[in-house]
């Protein structure tokens, strides 16, 4: 339980969230409270307990490995904030 200011900065970078300097201490406090709450789980001995992967016992459905969709570039790009021809446009990433 050591979610300090620098951990907040690290996690914010993992989560891709810009955090204002003024908010970092407040956020550290809030996140610590939540982590403190969920740490109750450490009281429980779960040795040998299988972690749940799915609540219903069902096999993943399989379909034929064929193209069954596509050719909808206009639809895919319809909500793009910025596009160039048939591509999503982003700021330059390579100098």
């Amino acid at each position: 339980m050591s979610l300090d200011r620098s951990t907040v900065e690290k996690v914010a970078q993992l989560a891709k969230l810009a955090i204002d300097e003024d908010d970092k201490d407040r956020l550290a406090g809030e996140l610590n409270a939540i982590i403190g709450f969920v740490e109750q789980l450490s009281e429980l001995d779960t040795t040998g307990v299988q972690p749940m992967t799915s609540v219903v016992e069902a096999n993943a459905p399989l379909r034929a490995d064929v193209v069954n969709d596509g050719d909808i570039a206009e639809k895919v790009l319809a909500n793009a904030p910025e596009r160039v021809q048939d591509f999503f446009a982003v700021p330059k990433v390579v100098e």
Binding site: T7, K16, L41, V55, A60, P81, F88
Partner: protein, 340 residues
């Protein structure tokens, strides 16, 4: 007052008589808690019973869609239309949809209704405990057998939920990056664009959950938090499995309090989380559960009772809910409503 959430808009519209019924989605109680707050009926079906195609994914191992209506029968009709297999949601289950209306026979004679002792949690208001006891009486009067049961891992459901749900949310919401759709805030470079877009587009609680999710999934913490929570989830599901050896359904309150003012308690995230204390365990176990309006608080606010059923036994749940609805004869209407 708040209508509850997160499907609070659906609940308020149904309560206000502006629609006959509405769809909702429920991850930890988002159909059932607003249904209770607004005095309507809402059912979260078994995980996989309804398709989530078109729904914004929050926590994929928990999310389920369901109907919210003014009567249990309307709920049965609407669920019958909503349930079924959809190849566009790979978690939807391919099994026949029964006629839920036909299953509402109105008789629960000989049904065994479980009352879990662990649901007597601190912070539950006296009027809600009283209503719960009233609900037990209604069930007994209708010929059901009341069975005291134990769900020993109940107190660990909320902490497990607040690991699993944020972890999955942080992953699901990664798609909102300002590139393919939605809001974008320009930045100095691509990374800056991501960070500014997401900080601007997500609200405080969503950002908190994304941060918690990223933290519990990060290197070095994954086993201690995320895997631990998944193990606890197994224990909670096993509690219910054992209980359903003895009973057909489980009766609890829906929420520990009635609706609260929009300026109350929301500053404290943990206090807000505790509002889901009765609804989250069934979500973690993927079980169907419904809220039925059952009475009013001392201040005249609606209160709901909560029924939890066995997997794919929505019909049984609706039948018991229908009996409860009849006994409760809930008739309160909001002051603000369509046509009033």
């Amino acid at each position: 007052m708040v209508p509850g959430g997160s499907s609070g808009g659906s609940a308020a519209s149904v309560a206000a008589n502006s629609v006959l019924g509405a769809t909702g989605t429920d991850t930890g109680g988002s159909i059932r808690q607003p249904a209770a707050f607004c005095g309507i009926t809402g059912i979260k079906p078994t995980y996989g019973r309804c398709s989530r195609w078109g729904v914004v994914a929050f926590a994929s191992s928990l999310d389920q869609a369901g109907p919210m209506t003014r009567s249990v029968r309307d709920c049965a009709i609407m669920l019958e239309a909503m349930a079924g297999y959809d190849k566009k949601d790979s978690t939807s289950i391919n099994r026949p949809v029964p006629s839920y209306q036909n299953e509402m026979t109105g008789s629960i004679k000989g049904k065994r209704i479980g009352v879990p002792k662990e649901y007597r949690v601190d912070g539950t208001s006296d009027e809600i405990i009283k209503l719960w006891e009233q609900g037990i009486e209604w069930m007994r009067d209708a010929g059901a057998e009341i069975v005291d049961i134990s769900l020993p891992h109940t107190k660990y459901a909320l902490p497990a939920y607040y690991i699993v749900a944020p972890a999955e949310a942080s992953s699901n919401l990664a798609r909102y990056d300002g590139i393919r759709y939605g809001h974008r805030v320009e930045g100095e470079d691509l990374n800056d664009l991501y960070c500014k877009t997401r900080a601007d587009g997500f609200g405080d609680e969503v950002q908190r959950r994304i941060m918690i999710g990223a933290y519990v999934l990060s290197a070095g913490f994954y086993d201690a938090y995320y895997n631990k929570a998944r193990q606890v989830r197994t224990l909670i599901a096993n509690d219910f499995k054992a209980a359903f050896g003895q009973v057909d359904a489980i009766l609890t309150p829906t929420a520990p309090t009635p609706a609260f003012g929009d300026n109350e308690i929301q500053d404290d995230p943990i206090a807000m989380y505790l509002n889901d204390v009765f609804t989250v365990p069934a979500s973690l176990a993927g079980l169907p559960a419904m809220s039925v309006p059952a009475g009013l608080s001392n201040d005249g606010l609606p209160l709901g009772l909560h029924l939890i059923g066995q997997p794919f036994e929505e019909g049984e749940l609706l039948n018991i809910g229908g009996v409860m609805e009849k006994a409760a004869a809930f008739s309160a209407k909001p002051q603000l409503r369509a046509g009033a």
